[in-house]
Symmetry: C2
Subunit: 328 residues, 2 copies
Amino acid sequence: MGKQIRIGIAGYGNLGRGVEAAIAKNPDMTLVGIFTRRAPESLTPLFANTPVHPIAALPDFKDAIDVLILCGGSKDDLPQQGPEMAALFNLVDSFDTHARIPEYFESVDAPARAAGKTALISIGWDPGLFSINRLYGEALLPDGATYTFWGKGLSQGHSDAIRRVPGVKAGVQYTIPSPEAIEQVRSGARPELSTRQKHTRECHVVLAEGADAVAVEQAIVSMPNYFADYDTRVHFISEETLRREHDRMPHGGFVIRSGSTSETHNQVIEYSLQLDSNPEFTASVLVAYARAGYRLSQQGQIGAKTAFDVAPGLLSIKTPEQLRAELL
Amino acid sequence: MGKQIRIGIAGYGNLGRGVEAAIAKNPDMTLVGIFTRRAPESLTPLFANTPVHPIAALPDFKDAIDVLILCGGSKDDLPQQGPEMAALFNLVDSFDTHARIPEYFESVDAPARAAGKTALISIGWDPGLFSINRLYGEALLPDGATYTFWGKGLSQGHSDAIRRVPGVKAGVQYTIPSPEAIEQVRSGARPELSTRQKHTRECHVVLAEGADAVAVEQAIVSMPNYFADYDTRVHFISEETLRREHDRMPHGGFVIRSGSTSETHNQVIEYSLQLDSNPEFTASVLVAYARAGYRLSQQGQIGAKTAFDVAPGLLSIKTPEQLRAELL
């Protein structure tokens, strides 16, 4: 085994915790420490021997960390942290506001280039693995159509929207891909699917004391942007059921490319994920890409990059010779 | 649109024909010509204006072809053609004898490096797309197990084996993945599966006049290596049914990675192909990788490479900016 890759974690929510777990499963990596905005002593890492430092101490670790994994949110944390940290570290993040990726890319690219650092942005499963599968599908079958379905999965944004409805004490929302729509796509038919035809939404809601169930249900299903365009079902449950049956964060989905190579021959490529824990899986993806980021930086490939720029071989702990002999 | 990528096709069977069709679907490519061992005038290309040349003329096209796609077989053609052509052209091939890939890689790498050429070997779906999905699965979920299932698909090797049985006039063999085994794997159970549990084999056989059906069936199902380790079903059909219902070359399969990110959370990644025409799809893959090979050669990345070495973005006709804005 060569030199260990020294990793830092910036931010310690569900994602940071998942990264700490994932590093332990990759024997070529060492965790230098967790860097947090909270008081370091208030935080309980997964492993008792993981060092915890205030985030302000990060610049002192400039030479001690090979790749910094940013585990903050895309709304408030990354737009500031990404460009700032790219001037100090090779980094990997999971910036996932699809519409703002080009702008975020530029904001990280400039400081990374100036500092000779490599920054892998928007890594995870969507954006990330789903993105590369949309790309592979399109490139391999240029005459075709691509479909992305999400779920069954807990949507954080939609769960938050439910909880803002008056009369709702607590609740979660699951996005469910339509089995009929998926079957149609798999058949090679290339259907045009409306928003309503692709996904349904299921809400599990705990009512506040004295709240009117009919009014709450109506407020949810008619909510613009979030629910009005979907077939939405609302189930009322007890607080105890919510705690017992809805404490996981499952997610996943499908990227399907259906295309023709000649008039009579249709070809279907399907990629799917079925995840018990969305943050742990995303974390696992970030860690594999941290290995790739380290290798790209060793090769002098500096600047902002995305999953599109990473050759599969760079993700593996194995040597190119091993990969050819064992996996090709 | 920048400069067109100029492609040559060496060998014109089902695969070469598929490459000719695929190039027409990629507007950044031009087909310089088909190079054949047959008499050029005896060959009918898909498009009447496709030039056809004797294969011996290839060296004259050294400066007229950016990437040569080798469409010969792995047993007899490529072991000789690959090293020979890598000294003259950037190339892409579909060498698919898994056990001999390391040796073939070396035999192509040396002449390619000496000539400053880029050679993408073992491109297609297995080896190729399935290989990179085995790699992604292992790298993203290091604590897990990978399963490859093939089919439903026509197996050329097994069809040939049937046709060698005395009393068989004609026949085809389909490899069928076991739905029960796939469901078990998808459940996250990580079963240990025997050869017999993973696939079954279905044979559609036309008997020679006066042949003994029972003896033929027995000879097939007990054939070592090919059928003895599988549950094999033999159906006797008429010559007309064979022609009418079994003239396609469907194939496909599944690569499934099942892994854990913590004690309680299992994650499943699945990649699958459902192909009406195996050779046309393989051809389509070769053509997308020809684009990548051209770009790698422009970057000075010379020598033998595999799908493991190709970043997804290199396959697409779109610019990196477009890809980030549209597909990430």
